[in-house]
């Protein structure tokens, strides 16, 4: 829902970091985005392409790793993925807070992140180097 504003904060943070290293170009950026955020990856990619135009990020490769939701059960100690609701009414499988092991309510431990994991910078423009 808020991909453009979130992506614009991402681009800003990258430009700031790249500036510290006197980078000529940013070649690649790696994001971790949790499945429980309300960020659509397609919209993040689109916003990124628009926002990087005319900056040293233009032409960079954007890698997004989608992080699974992780829950923790205080009752039986289960830690792992969600139990998904398999009712056919859900076209997209919907996670529930029910423990897949014992049925008690679980706490959310992971899946809400939106993190810039790392980036590759080109320090000189002389070589034309592609990202991996």
């Amino acid at each position: 829902m808020h991909e453009f504003s979130v992506t614009s904060q991402i681009v800003e943070a990258i430009l700031k970091e790249a500036g510290k290293h006197n980078a000529k170009r940013v070649v690649a950026v790696h994001l971790d985005i949790g499945k429980l955020t309300f960020l659509g990856l397609e919209q993040v990619r689109f916003s990124y392409e628009v926002l990087v135009k005319g900056t040293i990020l233009e032409g960079s490769k954007l890698y997004i790793e989608e992080k699974d939701g992780i829950v923790n059960c205080r009752s039986c100690g289960y830690e792992g993925g969600f139990q998904y609701e398999d009712d056919p009414i859900y076209h997209i499988p919907t996670p529930t807070l029910r423990c897949p092991n014992c049925g008690e309510t679980v706490e959310i431990e992971g899946g809400r992140e939106c993190t810039i994991r790392d980036m590759k910078l080109l320090i000189s423009e002389d070589d034309k180097t592609d990202a991996d």
Partner: protein
């Protein structure tokens, strides 16, 4: 001194970062929570679709809890203060928060509003979010409890269509109970849908115009 390590010409630098973009709001939300707790104020976030009855619910809660708590309310809205005035007529302080075009409140707006009230003068704060069942779930405000209001007139699929917000709810209020028969909506089904997603959520059916069920909301909130 040892030589400084520098990149060769054209070398690619791999910079490890750990910048969490959504963390900024969460940090502010925690600060709000600490400030409220320090002043002994319990805050309740009221979320739900446009026209579901969030303001009516707060009005009825204020009427019923008047003798017990000193209350105030923040009222999120895009452009008007209509709802803020509805709550204020019950004699509580209301700070309207107009978001302009934003579809949800965020921790920063709540932080600003917190500066405008005397926290020592209240024990209970209602924060009514902008009418929306999607975005408010992404932006915690620093409240102790979160209510999601759904109403019968929104139809039988409101919960399954917007499952994520129910994960963050402590109490679900199913409002406009008096219209269930006319709308052909099964209240029990709505309740089960909410409990499937979040087994520990408390579900209460109300008619916020007549006041039916309000006492159950108060009990569910442990007020």
């Amino acid at each position: 001194m040892k030589d400084v390590v520098e990149a060769e010409k054209g070398e690619i630098f791999d910079i490890e970062l750990d910048v969490n973009i959504l963390e900024a709001n969460r940090k502010l939300a925690n600060e709000n929570k600490e400030l409220l707790q320090k002043n002994g104020v319990q805050a309740i976030d009221v979320m739900g679709a446009i026209g579901s009855g969030k303001t009516s619910l707060i009005e009825k809660l204020v009427q019923n809890l008047k003798g017990k708590y000193r209350m105030a309310a923040f009222k999120g809205d895009l452009t008007t203060t209509i709802d803020a005035e509805l709550i204020a007529r019950h004699g509580v302080e209301v700070i309207p928060i107009n978001t302009g075009k934003e579809c949800h409140l965020d921790a920063n707006l709540v932080k600003k509003a917190l500066k405008r009230i005397n926290l020592e003068g209240i024990d209970l704060l209602f924060i009514e979010n902008v009418g929306n069942l999607i975005c408010p779930a992404e932006f915690p405000l620093g409240s102790d409890k979160r209510i999601v209001v759904v109403s019968i007139t929104e139809g039988p699929y409101m919960v399954v269509k917007h499952p994520f917000i129910f994960m963050d709810a402590d109490v679900v209020v199913i409002n406009k109970l008096d219209l269930a028969q006319a709308m052909g909506v099964d209240v029990k089904k709505l309740e089960n849908d909410a409990k499937t997603i979040n087994p520990k959520v408390k579900v209460v059916a109300t008619n916020c115009r007549s006041g039916e069920g309000i006492i159950n909301v108060i009990n569910a909130l442990e007020l």
